[in-house]
Symmetry: D2
Subunit: 390 residues, 4 copies
C-alpha cells in the first residue's frame, strides 16, 4: 500500500451529499476534475435508504457505504486501503462531530463552511487539527478563483498602497419568498437554527464574503456593527445583513474601514458576490459571476481589465489556470482548485512534509474566524447594532 | 412688461459661478438648453475683479454685474426688467445668506446643494420660502434623469412590492491624494469646514446619494449609524462615509433597511453614483454614469434592461426625454430637466398658480432633510457610530 | 452691424424642422447649448400652415417666417441683420437645392447628411462651396464625440500601428415592422426613393458608419462589395446592408480590410453604432450608446477603459469636453460640438480667416464621399455583390 | 466484459494530446468531469519519446502506450478490454487517417475540428461512419454551452419569427505578431498548410463560427463571398476572414443574410466568439467569453438577460446545467457536455440503440459542412471575393 499511496490518486470518502443535495455533487466534480482523487466510501445521507441508493448511483462498493460517519471513520481507519481524506458536505450542525470523528481516526478533512454551529466548537476543532496534524481544508472556494489569487498577490505586493476601504457584498434572491414552506430542502435546513446555527444568510453567504475580504486584503477585523433582518414573515434566521467593518490598523496608516452586505432577498441577484478594495494607490474589483476578469485602477491611470491567463496575469493566478484566456473558467474550476491544493497538501503529508509554500487553502483557522464573525454579527444585531469586537 | 413676462423666457441672475468654477457653467448650459431662461445679471465672484471679468465673458451688461448678492438682490428687485429668478452656485456657506436675500426681495431661487451649512439655517430658509411663497428649487439634479423618474414611478406603482432594502453609493476618487495642498480650488473649499460646513464627502455627495434614495423609494429615514473618515492626513472633513440606514415602517411590512456609501478616495470611480432598491416583488438598479439604462428584475422573471425612450418607458420618464432611445442623454440634460421643471413652476407662479401636478423638483424641504442627514452622520460618527435619529 | 456681428452670437435660420420632425429640434438644442447661435428665421415646413405654427412656437418673428427656402435665402441676404448661417434639416431631396440657394446668397450652410440624393448633385455642391468660399458643415455628428476625437488622435499618432481591420456597424430595429404604412412620418420619407434617394438604411445610417470609420482611421476606401436587402415586404429601399470593405494601401503595409453592417431591422438595437479598429500594435472600440468610454488594447497589454475627461484623455478630446469625467455627456453634447466647431469657422470667416487648425468638422467633401458610398453600395448590390470601386 | 461494459464508464484512448498540447488536456478534463469516461490507452505524440513520457505522466499502462494510431487501433480492437472510443486531438492532417483507422476497427470516434484537410477526405469519412455505424462526434464544443442550446430551442420554437440576419464573429489576437517564428507550437502547425489544410483562421476558428451559426439557426448556407488575408508578412495561411453569407430561403420569407468575421490579428480579443441572430419577431445575442448569459429582445419589448439556470431557462439548457444560476459554468463544462452527449450515444450503441432523442452532438456531417465552408472561402477569396456556392 505504502508505495502506491505515495503516488496514486487520493482515496477519499464523503459524508453527506446524497440525492437532492447540491454541494455534494460539486465536491465530487471538483475532486474528479484533475484526476487527483477517487471516491471510494460514503455516508451520504442520514436517511439509510437514501444513503444506500445514492451510493449505488455513484458506483460505491456497498461494503463501504456506511450508515453513519462514526461507522465510516472507524471502518475506513481500519482498512489497509482505507480513505486518506473525507469530504464533509452536510448541513452545518454535522460539521463539527463528523470532522472530529475523522480527525481522531487520522483522516484528512475537507469540510464545507461554516466550520461549525458555534465558535466554541470551532475552537475545539482547531485544537484537534493541531493535535492530530491532519490536513484540514475549509471549502471557502471563492478564494481559489485565479483572479482572486491575482488580487491577493497584487494587494500583498503593494499595488494598491495602504488599504483604506473594503466593500464586499453577496446578494442572492432565492429566499425572497417563503420557499422553505413549500418543501425546498436547501431552504429548509438553512433557515433552521438547529441545523444551520445562529446565522442564516450570515452563516451561509456572509461568511464567504467576509472570508474573501480577509483573504484578498490580509487585513484582520477589529470590530463590526451589524443589522440583521429576516424580512420574510416566520423566518427564524436572518435573510439579510448590513454590516459596517473596522479593520485593525497596520503600521502608521489609518485603519481600513469597510462594509459588508449579504442578502437572500435581493431580487435580480443570483450569486452576486463582489469584492472591491481601495487603497492609497489604486483600486480593484472582482465579481464572482464573471470571475475571469479583474478590474484594476492604478490611481491617476486608466482602468485596466485584467483577464485570467491574459496580459498582466501573475504567477499566483497562472498556477491555477487550466485553459487559455478568453475561454472562461467557472465555479467548478475554482472549486477544483481547492481540491488541487488539498491534494498537494495531502501528498506532502504522505511523505511527512508540510504543503509546498505556494499552496494556499482555507484552514480551520479561517473557520474559527468565520464563526467569530457570525457570532459577532448576531451579538451586535441583538445589541441594536452596537460596535462589537470579534 | 407684464405681458412679455408672462410668455417670454425667464430672466435670471447668477451668484457665484465665475471663472474656474465648475457648477456655474453647468447651470448656465442647463438654463440655456431648452430656451426657457436668459441670463441677465450676476454676482459671479466674491473677488470683484474676477466677477467683472467673468461677467464680461458671459456678455452681461456691466450695469447688472454686481459686487455682492446683497447689492444684486436689491438692485434687481427695483428694476422693472429685473430678474425673476436667481441661481446660487457658490460654496455652501453662502447658500443661506444669498438665498435669504433673494427670497426677501421676492425673487425665485434655484440653489445648489447642500442647502446650508447647518440644519438651523436650513429650517430658517424653509420658513422663509413658506412665508414668501417664492419658488425654491434645490439642484439635486440626479432626480431629474428620466430613468430615475421611471424608477420612482415604478416603485410608487408597486412594481417592487414592499421595499425592503436600499443600497446607494456615490464613490469618487479625485481626493485620493491631497490635492487641496496643490491649490485645486474645487478641493480646497470642499474640505474647509468654514466654507463647506460640517460634512466633507457627506455634504458634497452623501447628500446626493441620500436624496436619490429618498426620491425613488419615497421612504423616510428613521435613524442611521455612520462611520466617517478622513483618510488623507491633514484633511479636516470626511472623505469617506459608511452608513447603515433604518427607514420608517409603512403599513404592516417590516421597516426597510439600507446602506449608504460615499467616498472621494475610491480609485477607479469618477462619479459612481448607483442606486439599488429591492422589494418583495422585484429589484431595480440605476447607475449615474450610464443613466439611460434601468435594470428591473420582477422576482422570478428574467432581468430586463429598460432604456430611456425605449419599450417599457413610462410617462414620467418620457416627459423629460428629448431624443430617441439609443442616443444617450447625459448629465447636462438631467440638469436641464431641473431647470425645465423650475421654469414650469415659475411660469405657473407668474399667473398665481401652483406648479402643474406632474412637475417635480427638489424643494427647500429636501434641503432641510439633507442637512438633517449631514448632522446626524456627523453626530453618529462622533458618538462611535451609535444609531442616531434624524 | 459690422462690429456686433464680429463678436455677438451667430444669427441663423432653419429650413425644415417643423412640428413632428426629430432632427430639427436636435439642431436647435445643439445650436443653443453653448450660446453661440441665435435662431432668427425659418422656413420650417413645406406645409405653410405647419411652417407658421412651428415658427410661432419657436418665437420667430412672423416677418422672418418664410414659405420657402428660396424666399428665405433671398430675403435674409437682403437684410442688414440677416442670417449668417442656415441649418438645413429637411428630407434628403431638399438638401441640394436649399444648400445651393443659401450658398449662392452668401450664407454659410450647416446641412444634414446625406448631402444630396445623387453623387452628381453632391459634386455640384462641392464646386459651389469652393466657388463661394462659404463655410459648409455636414452634420456627421458622431465625429464630434470627444472619445471619437480621442480615437482619431490615437490612430493618427500611431498608437495602433498599421491599421489592418475596421469593423463598423450601425444596427437599429425601428423598421422591423412596416410602420410607414401606419403613418410614421420619419419612416415614410426615409423609405421613399423620391425623398431619400437611392439608399434607405444605406443613406440614413450606413453613411454615418462609413464616415465614422473614415474619420477615425484616415483611410480611403478602394472598393466595396455590398448586399442590400429590404426585408419588410413592400419596402422600396434597403433596410439592411452587409458590406465588405477594401481600403487603399498606405506605405508598404498590407491594405486594410473591413466590414460594415447597417440595419433597421435588428431587434434589440436602438442606435447601435459601434466602431472597432485593429492595427499591428493595438485595437480600439467605441460604442455610440455609451460614448464616454473608449476601449484601448495595446497589443500584449491589458485592456484599458479610457473615459472622457479621465486619465489618458488627449487634447483633441478635452477641448470638446464640458463636464468632469463620470458625468456622462451624450448625443446632444456631441451634436453641439459640431455647432461649436461651425461657430469657430464662421467667426473666423467673419474676419476673413480660415478656421483655427484644431477645429474639425465634416465638410462638403465628406458629403461627396458619402454619396459615392451610397451609389457604390447600390451598384454593387444590383451587380450581385461584385467588388465595386467608389 | 459484456456486462460491465454495459454499465461501467466508457474506456477510451487518445491520439495526440501529449505534453505541450493544449486541446488534449481539455479533452481529458472534459471526459473526466462527469465520470463517464476512463482513459486507458494512448498514442499521444508522433514523437515516440514524448509519447512515452506523456503516457507515464497520465498513468497509462505502458503496454497500452502506442507509437502510432495504426498500432493502437489494431491492438485495442483485439483486446477484450479494448477501448470503446478514441479521442483524436492531433493537428488537422491526422484527423482523417486516424479516424479512418479507428472506425474501421469498430471503435467510436470523438474528433477535433476541422474534420479533415480536404472536403474529399471529409466525405469519405462520412461514408465510413455510415458504413460502420459507429458513433462519430466532432468537438464543435461551443454548441454544447447551455445558453447556446437555449438559443437553438428558442429559434426553433419561433421566438424570433423568420430569421433575417445572422452576425457571427470569432476574433482573437494571439497571431498579431509572427510568433510561429519564435517556436510557438500552437502557432506553427496552424499556419502550416501541410498540417492545417487550406485554411488558417478559416479552419481554426472560422469553422467554429460557421458551425455555431448553423446550429442555432438551423439555416443552410446557399453561398458566400469571402475576403481572406494574411496580414503578418510571410504567413502562409489566412489570419483574417471577412465573409458575407446568403442562406437558403425557407418558406415564403426572404432568404436570410449574414456576415462572418474571424481573425487572429484583432488586438483586444482573446476568444471573442459572438453570435447574434435577428428575426421578424426578435433578436438574440450570445458571447462565448460570458457564456452564462443570453440576451433576448422580443421586438417592441425591453431587452431581457437570460441566465443559465435562471428564470426563463428552457429544458434544452437545463439538461446540460450542473450548478445553480449565478455560479458560472465555463468552457470546460461546455466541452464536457459534448462528452456527456457522446457518452449517452455510446451507451445507447452498447445496447444497439440510437442516441436518445434529446441528445445532440456535432456529427461527421457537420464536419463535411465545415470543410465545404473552408473550401468555399478559399475559392471565393482566390476568385476576388466572388459569390461562391458551398
Amino acid at each position: 500500500m505504502a508505495n502506491d499511496k505515495k503516488q496514486g490518486p487520493i482515496r477519499y470518502g464523503m459524508v453527506g451529499g446524497g440525492r437532492g443535495a447540491f454541494i455534494g455533487g460539486v465536491h465530487r466534480i471538483a475532486a474528479r476534475m484533475d484526476g487527483e482523487f477517487v471516491l471510494v466510501a460514503g455516508a451520504l445521507s442520514s436517511n439509510p435508504e437514501r444513503a444506500k441508493a445514492s451510493a449505488a448511483e455513484l458506483g460505491l462498493d456497498p461494503e463501504r457505504t456506511y450508515a453513519s460517519y462514526a461507522a465510516m471513520a472507524k471502518a475506513e481507519a481500519d482498512r489497509p486501503d482505507g480513505i486518506e481524506a473525507v469530504a464533509i458536505v452536510t448541513p452545518n450542525n454535522h460539521h463539527f462531530p463528523a470532522a472530529k470523528a475523522f480527525l481522531e481516526a487520522g483522516i484528512h478533512v475537507i469540510c464545507d463552511k461554516p466550520l461549525a454551529t458555534t465558535l466554541a466548537e470551532a475552537k475545539k476543532l482547531a485544537g484537534l487539527v493541531e493535535k492530530t496534524g491532519r490536513v484540514f481544508v475549509l471549502t471557502h472556494n471563492y478564494t481559489a478563483y485565479p483572479m482572486v489569487r491575482q488580487a491577493q498577490e497584487m494587494v500583498a505586493g503593494g499595488a494598491l498602497g495602504d488599504i483604506r476601504l473594503v466593500q464586499v457584498e453577496y446578494p442572492q434572491d432565492w429566499l425572497t419568498e417563503d420557499i422553505s414552506a413549500s418543501g425546498n430542502k436547501q431552504a429548509s435546513w438553512r433557515s433552521d437554527p438547529k441545523q444551520a446555527g445562529a446565522g442564516g444568510a450570515t452563516g451561509d453567504i456572509g461568511t464567504h464574503a467576509y472570508n474573501l475580504a480577509r483573504f484578498v486584503t490580509g487585513l484582520e477585523l477589529h470590530s463590526l456593527a451589524a443589522d440583521l433582518d429576516a424580512f420574510v414573515p416566520g423566518r427564524l434566521l436572518d435573510d439579510n445583513l448590513n454590516v459596517l467593518l473596522r479593520f485593525k490598523a497596520r503600521g502608521t496608516a489609518p485603519a481600513a474601514k469597510g462594509m459588508l452586505w449579504a442578502s437572500q432577498v435581493a431580487p435580480g441577484h443570483e450569486n452576486g458576490l463582489k469584492l472591491r478594495v481601495y487603497g492609497s494607490k489604486g483600486g480593484l474589483e472582482w465579481v464572482q459571476a464573471d470571475p475571469n476578469y479583474l478590474w484594476h485602477t492604478p490611481f491617476g491611470e486608466p482602468k485596466r481589465l485584467l483577464t485570467r491567463g491574459g496580459a498582466g496575469a501573475l504567477a499566483s493566478a497562472n498556477r491555477l489556470t487550466r485553459i487559455p484566456a478568453g475561454h472562461p473558467e467557472g465555479y467548478l474550476e475554482g472549486f477544483a482548485n481547492i481540491y488541487r491544493e488539498a491534494a498537494a497538501a495531502i501528498r506532502a503529508a504522505r511523505i511527512g512534509q508540510p504543503p509546498p509554500h505556494d499552496v494556499i487553502f482555507p484552514t480551520v483557522h479561517d473557520g474559527v474566524e468565520g464563526m467569530a464573525f457570525i457570532e459577532a454579527c448576531v451579538r451586535s444585531s441583538r445589541n441594536d447594532g452596537a460596535w462589537t469586537k470579534l
